[in-house]
């Protein structure tokens, strides 16, 4: 639906910040695709207005030359044009508002019950992820911390300040509910590819619903100033490895922590399920 059409021109999807990047990262969720489409809609009107205004401006400057136009006109009124230049610019925002509100309200709509809940808890200066859907008691959540890999420990090919030691592993094409909160100060959990940015407020649980449509490793960063190492906190840590079949198949084979084996392997930095994609 969303991304496959354009990806045949690319070798790999842009799911992390690129140097000198001008546009968005490639969409991985319908929400992000909606945001990109809205951006295109608005940009169209933006260019129309820009060209029009520039043309008028340049034309006025060009003709306002003492040799070409020794006697300038002194017009101060013009009812028709005043009416037109009031009505016309008020119609343009209506064209912009229609797709904008449509997207805004559809982003909030949770149509389907989520299939899995993941808690992302922000700390200074790392993330903790909890998967608690299959607990049989109050302890036993699958929980792990996610720290950014320092530059000295990076392997060849890894992104600086984007890689983490334990990634969040999440199934693709599944409705996820991500509960974002914080254990100390304000943080924000953002994954640009998925069109997600949610503040992590201590004492409050913020819910985001997404459904990632393609597999891959997605990167994000902390988006709310949270202290000295704010710039070095990776927000989702990578939402890595959206592996639908693997998730379903291997996650509940016996054992007290059935998910831990797969997740710990898949969530490991590089090379867990083959090369980093």
């Amino acid at each position: 639906m969303i991304v496959r059409e354009w990806l045949f021109l690319t070798i790999a999807a842009c799911d992390a910040a690129e140097p000198w990047q001008l546009g968005f990262q490639d969409a991985a969720t319908p929400m992000m695709q909606g945001i990109i489409d809205l951006h295109h809609d608005i940009f169209f009107f933006l260019i129309l207005i820009l060209v029009f205004v520039l043309r008028i401006l340049v034309r006025a400057l060009w003709h306002f030359h003492y040799q070409k136009n020794p006697i300038p006109q002194r017009i101060v009124h013009g009812t028709t044009i005043e009416i037109l230049r009031t009505i016309f610019p008020s119609i343009i925002p209506m064209f912009i508002a229609i797709p904008s509100f449509a997207l805004l309200y559809s982003m909030d709509e949770v149509v389907v019950d989520p299939a899995i809940t993941i808690k992302a808890i922000g700390h200074q200066w790392y993330r903790t992820y909890e998967y608690s859907d299959y607990n049989s008691s109050d302890e036993q959540s699958l929980t792990f911390d996610s720290y950014t890999i320092p530059e000295d420990d990076l392997e060849l090919g890894q992104s600086r300040l984007l890689e983490v030691d334990n990634r969040v592993v999440v199934p693709a094409k599944t409705h996820l509910r991500i509960i974002v909160t914080s254990a100390d100060v304000l943080h924000s959990w953002a994954v640009p590819s998925s069109g997600v940015k949610c503040d992590a407020v201590p004492g409050r649980l913020n819910q985001i619903s997404i459904s990632v449509q393609r597999e891959g490793v997605y990167y994000g960063q902390c988006s709310e100033i949270c202290g000295t190492n704010h710039a070095f906190t990776r927000a989702p840590g990578n939402i890595g490895r959206l592996l639908s079949p693997l998730w379903l198949s291997r996650t509940t084979r016996g054992a007290t922590h059935p998910r831990s084996k797969l997740l710990q392997r898949a969530a490991g930095a590089v090379g867990s399920q083959g090369a980093r994609q």
């Binding site: 909030d108 509960i179 379903l248």
Partner: protein, 78 residues
Amino acid sequence: MADEIELKTAPADFRFPTTNQTRHCFTRYIEFHRCLAAKGEESNECERFAKFYRSLCPGEWIEKWNEQRENGTFPGPL
């Protein structure tokens, strides 16, 4: 590769339609303990509520509330 695994979690509750799910988590926790009080500790019917609050609430909050309940200082209508 697998037996089809069913992914299940706390369903979207129409009482809490907005982004802020703090009350949702708290309400599920209280519902579970009220259910236990009403039906007895051994009943399996309350397990449903238990799954819901475990999915939604961070582990630290659950621990804190469990302690508060033991101390008798839990600030909720149990």
